[in-house]
């Protein structure tokens, strides 16, 4: 929805309005502007009230924006009595801009970055102020420091260079300073638009209070995906702040080996508390993984994989995948195992899709399998991935029985930090 007005449209900055002289109809000074309140309406918040301080005392008064006659060199107000004004406390759906936004950190959901607000830009139309942009650039900082004109003149004269503004449209801004702002429906939509990996980066940069607030505003699924991407140290600190039942809901949604790694890092009593809150079968799987050494193959693998008996036909297998792949975080290969879980062969999904539907898996499968044992060292596993160019490696016990699968992504987390800055 675009703003459409016939009279001239003017852009104004918050920094230009704060501190402005407030006068009455007769141009007599009654105070100066200390803050503006906006109603949080979509797409652009509208200024609803102006906060003014009469000067001498520290008292502040809220005046409705409808009383404002003009915003020029001064802010001229229609007649009103100070007694009518309410006390300056923010109401539902309303925020004070200087108090909650200016100089504070916000999330730029489009650029997936944490930014600091240097200034706010309004569009003035029909005597209403619409908050349209957040200024995060160097020019905004210079405007606040009172150095913008000298800086522009200097750059122009010395290098014939014009510094550009860095504005972010309001629709991509998520304020963080008040937990209430994160509970809004809009906030959840904006944050969940970001990729969990970006969200995780932002969460790592936040302070502890903001971190908890942002995290709790996410839905369980996004929270789990985000948590998987977060630094282990911060994972632990986030989980410590949650109740066991909240934590277990999120951890259940994580992939099994990520969940096991996280629980292994928690203090014992807390990990046990969370496990007891989790669904029985997931908790069992996680416990199995927890028992394995983290540094070896066992600690890298997940126990969720697709395995089918050799006598199944391709068509039946595809149907089965339809049902089961929902619960997998990775489904690229199927493994063919006998009734005692002995690994016989494997097929990629591509091979499966191009095979005749009535063919038996045992006739179609690839029997040249690359597998490792639970005790295999990480470095060796990385070498196997590189040598064979595969997406996942099955893990077997001494008897060649299938235990789990190491997914390429999990080994990447170990290798990537060594790739240099």
């Amino acid at each position: 929805m675009a703003l459409q007005y016939s009279d001239p449209q003017v852009f104004l900055f918050l920094s230009e309005i704060l501190g402005k002289r407030v006068v009455n109809r007769q141009n007599k000074k009654i105070g100066k502007v200390t803050d503006l309140a906006v109603g949080l309406v979509e797409p652009y918040p509208i200024v609803t009230e102006v906060l003014l301080s009469p000067g001498a005392s520290s008292a502040q008064y809220c005046v409705p924006w409808s009383k404002v006659l003009e915003v020029e060199k001064t802010l001229r107000l229609d007649d009103f009595s100070l007694e009518e004004c309410r006390k300056p406390e923010s109401r539902e759906g309303e925020i004070f801009l200087k108090d909650t936004l200016l100089d504070k950190q916000v999330v730029d959901t489009n650029g997936a970055k944490l930014r600091r607000v240097n200034d706010l830009q309004f569009l003035k139309a029909h005597n209403l102020l619409h908050l349209v942009h957040v200024d995060v650039g160097f020019r905004g900082l210079m405007r606040r420091a009172g150095l913008l004109k000298p800086l522009d003149a200097f750059l122009q004269a010395s290098m014939d260079y014009n510094l550009t503004d860095q504005f972010i449209a309001w629709k991509f801004i998520q304020p963080l300073s008040s937990p209430d702002l994160l509970k809004l429906k809009v906030a959840q939509d904006r944050l969940s638009q970001m990729h969990p990996a970006d969200l995780a980066d932002i969460i790592e940069d936040l302070d502890i209070h903001q971190r908890a607030a942002v995290f709790q505003s996410l839905d369980v699924e996004t929270a789990a995906e985000t948590l998987e991407e977060t630094d282990p140290r911060i994972q632990v600190s986030i989980i410590k702040d949650l109740k066991p039942e909240q934590a277990s809901d999120i951890i259940e949604e994580m992939s099994l080996n990520e969940a096991a790694d996280l629980l292994a890092d928690l203090p014992r009593h807390q990990a046990e508390g969370i496990l007891s809150e989790m669904e029985q079968d997931i908790a069992e799987d996680v416990k199995e993984l927890l028992a394995l050494p983290e540094e070896k193959a066992g600690g890298l693998m997940t126990t969720a994989f697709l395995s089918y008996p050799p006598t199944l036909t391709v068509g039946e297998a595809i149907e089965a995948i339809h049902r089961e792949a929902e619960d997998m975080d990775f489904a690229y290969y199927i493994y063919v195992v006998d009734e005692n879980e002995h690994l016989l062969g494997m097929m990629s999904l591509r091979e499966l899709l191009v095979s005749p539907l009535d063919g038996k898996l045992e006739d179609m499968m690839d029997t040249r399998i690359v597998s490792v044992t639970i005790e295999e060292d990480r470095k060796e596993i990385a070498n196997l991935f590189a040598k064979y160019g595969i997406m996942a490696i099955p893990v077997v016990d001494d008897d060649d029985r299938m235990m789990g699968v190491i997914i390429f992504r999990n080994i990447l987390e170990i290798i990537a930090p060594h790739l240099g800055k």
């Binding site: 100089d103 930014r115 600091r116 240097n118 009172g146 302070d207 502890i208 911060i234 600190s237 800055k421």
Partner: protein, 416 residues
């Protein structure tokens, strides 16, 4: 049985402490940088043991101020420049950061001068030592991650022991030293007072508050673990003054008693050789090298971090160069300019130190007063604001600091 439980609990406590230790001890020790060592040496050489007593109130003030910083870091999870920006706005923060940058740049130059001076004692030309030092310091942060950097810093703290060893080698008269503490002799000549102010000024500097609070935040210390951080801060404040004590004492019992006048820490190290032995002299020089390198690594890092945090730029040693250009730009600029100036044939070190100290003296009062306003802000600190007793103590400490800083600025301008 009971002793068994006690013992495990003791070990758990101890291991938690060592996991959280660092910020306080590192910050305090960096404080004994090239400038600090020079001031201590001069204090001992010019006024003997008469200035030793002042270390007691300095330790006290250091604990009071650092404790508040650490507490703010733990409770708010934000750095000091972040809090100042959010509470006092962009304009004042901008100018504070410019002053902080200039004074820290001045200090960085002094650190590289310290590297040059100490390596010259070992017979290495400054045209070799300073470029190598600058490059190593730069590499430390750009190529490593902070966890390993912090370990290197903690090891550097251990090397300050060289001053204690060196001090004991001076064979001091402990009885006489004890007396100087019990009966502090305060003189009222301008030189003595200026030296006293200088001692306080070199120990409590603006950048430390920013560095301490950021590293506490970086460690992710929780309010329930805060008591360990408090111990960290107190231990740090004590060790820094123990080192200061040994330097002043060594110079007092050797140089002062033999009427030798010195101008720099290098003079002190060289003059020690005939009086306290070759090893004492070399240890003194080694201590100066360690202190200078240590502070030269931390000052630019802390400055870049503080400024980026205030202005909302990417600021982490865990980012790549292109992701955090302002951070690495500021950091590299400070190191290479700081080291480069030292290599100029006739670099104006005295002039630089003079202005850097004036700016320091002007900046500190503002920072300390802001700190007190922030720590008493209930919206930020909740129930962790200062109690009334702590408020009286801290306001008195800060007032004394403010008066001393301004006195130093006035005396510096007067002298010029």
């Amino acid at each position: 049985m009971i002793s068994g439980i006690f013992r495990t609990r003791f070990w758990i406590t101890l291991s938690v402490f060592f996991a959280l230790v660092g910020p306080g001890i590192i910050t305090s020790n960096v404080d004994n940088d090239a400038g600090g060592i020079t001031t201590y040496s001069l204090a001992g050489a010019d006024y003997g043991l008469t200035l030793l007593w002042i270390l007691v109130p300095i330790t006290f003030a250091l604990i009071i101020i650092q404790e508040m910083c650490a507490r703010m870091g733990v409770v708010t999870g934000k750095g000091l420049s972040d809090l100042i920006r959010e509470r006092f706005g962009a304009k004042i923060t901008f100018y504070l950061m410019i002053i902080l940058f200039l004074t820290n740049l001045g200090n960085t130059i002094a650190e590289f001068a310290g590297v040059a001076a100490s390596m010259e004692i070992f017979g290495v030309s400054k045209y070799i030592s300073v470029p190598i030092a600058a490059f190593l310091v730069w590499l430390l942060v750009v190529k490593w991650n902070y966890k390993s950097v912090e370990k290197v810093f903690l090891v550097a703290c251990l090397f300050y022991l060289s001053y204690i060893v060196s001090g004991i080698m001076g064979e001091p008269d402990w009885h006489q030293i004890g007396t100087s503490f019990v009966n502090p002799s305060v003189q009222f000549d301008p030189g003595y007072l200026a030296m006293a102010v200088g001692l306080v000024g070199t120990t409590i500097a603006p950048w430390m508050q920013f560095y301490l609070q950021s590293s506490v935040v970086d460690k992710g210390i929780r309010t329930s673990e805060y008591r360990y951080t408090r111990i960290d801060v107190i231990v740090g404040s004590f060790t820094v003054n123990v080192v200061a004590f040994f330097i002043i004492m060594l110079c007092a019992v050797t140089l002062f008693q033999n009427g030798i006048r010195i101008e720099t820490a290098k003079d002190a190290a060289l003059a020690l050789e005939p009086l306290a032995g070759k090893y004492s002299s070399l240890l003194f020089a080694f201590g100066l090298l360690n202190a200078s390198l240590f502070a030269a690594s931390i000052l630019p890092l802390s400055t870049a971090y503080t400024i980026c945090e205030a202005f909302g730029w990417e600021s982490s040693v865990n980012h790549k160069f292109v992701e955090a250009p302002q951070f690495y730009g500021l950091y590299s600029f400070m190191i290479f300019l700081g080291a480069g100036i030292i290599l100029l044939p006739q670099f104006p070190l005295i002039w630089i130190m003079y202005y850097s100290q004036v700016l320091n003296g002007l900046l500190l009062p503002v920072i300390l007063i802001f700190m007190l306003l922030l720590i008493n802000d209930r919206r930020l600190m909740g129930r962790y604001t200062n109690g009334w007793a702590m408020n009286i103590i801290s306001w008195l400490t800060v007032s004394a600091q403010v008066i001393l800083s301004l006195a130093m600025v006035i005396s510096l301008i007067w002298e010029a």
